[in-house]
Amino acid sequence: MELLSPVDYAKQGVLAVQNYSLLSWRSIANLFAHPRYVADTLMQADLIGVGSLPIVVLTGFFTGAVLALQGANTLQRFGSLSMIGQLVSLSMVRELGPVLTGLMISGRNSSGMASELGSMKVTEQIDAMRALGTDPTKKLVTPRVVATVFMLFFLTIISDLVGLTGGFMVAYLMLGLDANQYWSNAWQNLVFEDVLMGLVKPLFFGFIIATVGCYYGLSTKGGTQGVGRSTTQAVVAASVLILIVDFFVTRMLMVFFPH
């Protein structure tokens, strides 16, 4: 393998950021230009949203359950086991629901997008689309971005709800807590800022998942090996970006909406 000089390496990095930014910008700008691919968007929404439902439900449920189990251990020491509902609801709604759903969807869909578009790239289908007078960013990227942002929002809500149910099952069946006590504690301690934080994040995460997946797919080089490389890179980059952006969005919302 050829070794790159630090300057070339830096140049490649800057070029990648520039190309990613341009693709992201075009994916948004295409929303205001014709043609709009509504059927493609709905198909992607079905693939991304409905298709991801089982993993989101499973992840959410067991995250809520394990949160209750671990939290109970600590809360019991302070005699505050009744606050388990609050612990699960705040953790799920503010942080774990959006982030874990984002990570799961990134693993499933960033890779899917990168491999699908990557295969199209290496078999010249992307060039064929351009040669046939169709803009691939309009036909392929924007529908995926819109569908992912839209569906991740609702998947996060489902994940939160299922996570709370998972926590409830542990609290009720294993810790012997009263159902009313759990749900009222979980519900009453949630404030507007918590819900806002939990619902703003999926918008950012959805955008990252789709644009990163499409970017790596459309930049694929080098046959089937290249497709595999793009797929791996897309999942890694999307997951890391989700965690980084999560920190900054949390900080930003804390500044704008302090308790």
Binding site: M120, E124, A128, R130, A131, L132
Partner: protein, 281 residues
């Protein structure tokens, strides 16, 4: 000559070019520091088919991609149907590409779409064509390549030769003014290759379409230069020994990124250059 025909000031705006459909003027491009095309210049007249030859990696397919604006050259000017391809943004190029058909080397059919959806892709994208009209034109294009029965099949269910023919049907469905063929017979058996060449001759003689044919099979281009399409008999026939019929087919030979020959088949056969003699032998 190009300067007389084309208004260079108008960038992406089409200008009338009565006689010339494609102009390459001193075009150069390199990939990763390796020069691929170096000062390539040629013209393709309207209705003419120009066959581009050269050894693998000499830049034949690059010429087609440059002509469609899929990649940009480092230097030179390219005009297709009067459009200054170099000056056009990607958005503007889509207008030009709707007038140019391209058959890719490996067909590049959309593997998740049926043959009908592949062939109709351009019409569906245009948006204002009725379902009945789409169906009629798809069947007409598939009839041209004698594959009407494959309409509901997926590309994976077709043989290599059938895929090329579907790719030709997809390229011609809107009857483009210019067609770019990238090795349409590459990797195919001689019988299927002849079928494909017959389709190219049919397209040339029946619809008078301008074409750039990239190939490494010299015999295909010589077949095109020595045959015509008999529309009444619906088959390709050889030209008579002393026929004066002009089949509008010329040859372009590339070597080390440069044009070393541009002329008729007869001129090519009588050329005394050692490399050319060896290449065509």
């Amino acid at each position: 000559m190009a300067e007389l025909l084309i208004n260079q000031e108008r960038g992406g705006t089409p200008t009338e070019t009565q006689h010339t459909a494609v102009v390459f003027d001193d075009v150069s491009i390199e990939f990763d520091g390796n020069p691929v095309l170096d000062g390539v210049s040629f013209e393709v007249a309207r209705g003419e088919t120009k066959a581009v030859f050269g050894v693998a990696g000499v830049g034949k397919s690059t010429i087609l991609k440059l002509g469609l604006g899929l990649i940009k050259p480092d230097r030179g000017k390219i005009y297709v149907l009067g459009y200054d391809v170099m000056q056009m943004e990607e958005e503007e190029l889509f207008e030009l590409r709707r007038k140019v058909g391209m058959v890719f080397q490996e067909s590049a059919l959309f593997d998740s779409l049926t043959v009908k959806e592949n062939v109709a892709f351009r019409l569906i994208e245009e948006g204002d064509v009725s379902e009945e009209e789409i169906d009629r034109r798809v069947r007409e294009a598939l009839r041209f390549v004698e594959l009407e029965h494959t309409v509901g099949m997926f590309p994976a269910e077709l043989s290599g030769g059938m895929r090329r023919r579907v790719a030709i049907a997809r390229a011609i469905i809107t009857q483009p003014e210019v067609l770019f063929y990238d090795s349409p017979t590459g990797g195919l058996d001689p019988i299927t290759s002849t079928t494909i060449v017959e389709l190219l001759v049919k397209q040339r003689d029946v619809y008078k379409t301008t074409a750039l044919l990239v190939t490494h099979r010299l015999q295909d281009a010589f077949t095109m230069a020595t045959h015509y399409f008999d529309a009444k008999a619906n088959q390709m026939r050889p030209l008579a020994a002393h026929s004066t019929r002009d089949v509008h087919t010329s040859f372009l030979l590339l070597k080390d990124g440069k044009v070393i020959f541009d002329g008729s088949g007869q001129e090519l056969s009588h050329n005394q250059d050692e490399y050319i003699k060896e290449y065509i032998s």
